[in-house]
Amino acid sequence: MVEPLLSTDRLVKRFGGLVATDTVSIDVRPGEIHALIGPNGAGKTTLVSQLTGNLTPDAGTIHFAGRDVTRLPTHARVRLGLARSFQITSVLREFTALDNVALAFQAHAGHSFRFLADARRDERLRAPARRGLEAVGLGARAETPAAALSHGEQRQLEIAMALAGDPKLLLLDEPMAGMGVEESQRMIGFLRALKAERAMLLIEHDMDAVFQLADRITVLVYGRAIASGTPDEIRANGEVRQAYLGDEIAEIA
């Protein structure tokens, strides 16, 4: 069996009396898309926040790339190759699309205690940033302020930024949120092409997308992982049907 890239061991996070993450153990193997699904309030974002380091778990451990990263700050995890995109689009709105991606590359290009040279003329950042924008289909929008991009374009920009450090694992928090059907299909195609190069943990409400992309699916309900398996196994799982998927799964199956 392949060593997992990311794994959690009996992770627990409580908010007062609410157990938002209830002894969750999941893993992501190299080269796979592992989807995390569950109804609203199931604790998906809480789980992701612990993986990224924005929240500290109350118990349990997180291993990434062979290291215990449970107590590591966010920026240090990013350096190890754990990148994320945000559920709510989170780009630097005052900066151009190219600036956004160049900054993402800068984060991986050593320290930034450089005070004199103009960063906008630094081809070591600009050239890869331009290629990154082209890869997500935003090449023509390089000089547009991020705030002026359409919602779908901002989501694409998010992905370009997350990819900048050539991460080993991408945490995608609802990359299809708020996208039209056509945009969603394009994003699905793009993510599938990406899969060859890196592992992904995908959180997504769009079941179409999940069942098209995922190699494995974990279902989270009330903070607990109630099932984990291949898309076919999840479709066939009675508990999952009852708890969550209901009619929607019948449609796809």
């Binding site: 990224t52 920026h75 350096r79 990148a83 900054l103 800068q106 205690f113 960063a119 900048a164």
Partner: protein
């Protein structure tokens, strides 16, 4: 460089810098020595405003204690002078270093907080030093202390008003030059990015706190330089240099001129001093005695700027690009 002359903003900036560059000649020609003293204070305050703008404008961190660096720079000169150390070669580096050190200390604690807490903590630390100054009986306490100006043997006579002015002006140009580089360098991009969205910057892999701390320290060092100059300008130090009112004035200047713009703080300083000097006599012309209440006019002007010209004076020159 020549492109700067083609825009109204560029023209205005070049004109202002030219007038400032030859100010001592102008005041001498028109025999207005008092104006040179105002000009000197404008240039010194502009250095402090540019330094505050580094964190307030570019970093989005409302530091409400920046005048404390006037005090640190000033007292470094004054205290050393009182103990017989009059060489500027010692006084000035000590003043700048102490200001940077204090900034690093305050930054290490305050930058862990956000919003109104950050404002309160920076204010609290500034008040702390203010009251230390008030308590320093040996150095004049409340009344302050007359000092002799720093000596740079043979190089420059600090007592000569014109020479001192030009020294301040050169240092202002140096500060502006550094600010222009810093804002567009990798470091500035991190600071400005964190202002826009610090969570995102952290998620990209930037240890944002470290960069902010560095920016806060640099800003404090330049503030200390302004304090050193201020002490030399009046040959006098007092706790009033670092009162919270002065910190407020600095924020007003930066907001008035245009936060996060290179020359905004300079425009703001000039506007602030010109209004402060001209409003009272103008109001006295309207009705004798009204001059005392010039701030009744000044206050609403600030409110109007805050409401309708968010980018400050700088935005009056039109939208900037890039």
């Amino acid at each position: 460089m020549m492109a700067a002359f083609r825009t109204p903003r560029g023209l205005a900036t070049v004109a202002i810098l030219l007038v400032l560059a030859v100010l001592p000649l102008l005041t001498q020609a028109f025999d207005q020595r008092y104006l040179l003293s105002i000009g000197t204070r404008i240039v010194i305050w502009a250095i402090a405003a540019v330094s505050l703008n580094m964190i307030l404008g570019y970093g989005g961190l409302v530091s409400f204690g920046h005048a404390v660096f006037f005090g640190i720079g000033g007292y470094a000169v004054g205290i050393l002078d009182a103990h017989g150390v009059s060489s500027g070669w010692i006084q000035w580096p000590v003043g700048v270093a102490m200001a940077a050190l204090w900034a690093a200390l305050v930054g290490a604690l305050s930058l862990r907080t956000r919003g109104v807490y950050f404002i309160m903590i920076t204010l609290a630390f500034a008040q702390l030093l203010y009251y230390v100054g008030v308590g320093l009986e040996a150095y004049g306490a409340d009344d302050g202390l007359n000092i002799s100006r720093s000596r740079f043997a043979g190089l420059i006579d600090m007592r000569d008003k014109a020479s001192f002015y030009w020294l301040c002006f050169v240092l202002l140009c140096g500060t502006l030059w550094f600010c222009s580089r810093f804002a567009n360098a990798r470091f500035g991009f991190v600071i400005r990015g964190a202002k826009s969205n610090d969570l995102r910057m952290t998620a990209l892999g930037f240890p944002v706190f470290r960069y902010r701390l560095a920016a806060f320290t640099i800003s404090g060092a330049f503030g200390g330089l302004a304090g050193i100059l201020l002490a030399n300008e009046g040959a006098y130090i007092s706790p009033a240099m670092m009162s919270w009112v002065k910190s407020g004035d600095l924020i007003v200047i930066v907001v008035l001129g245009g936060m996060g713009t290179l020359f905004g703080p300079l425009y703001g300083t000039i506007a602030f001093f010109v209004l402060e000097e001209s409003l009272p006599p103008v109001l006295n012309l309207v009705q004798k005695g009204w001059g005392e209440y010039w701030q009744i006019v000044f206050g609403p002007m600030l409110v109007l700027i805050a409401l309708y010209a968010r980018g400050g004076i700088d935005s009056l020159f039109g939208r900037r690009h890039g």
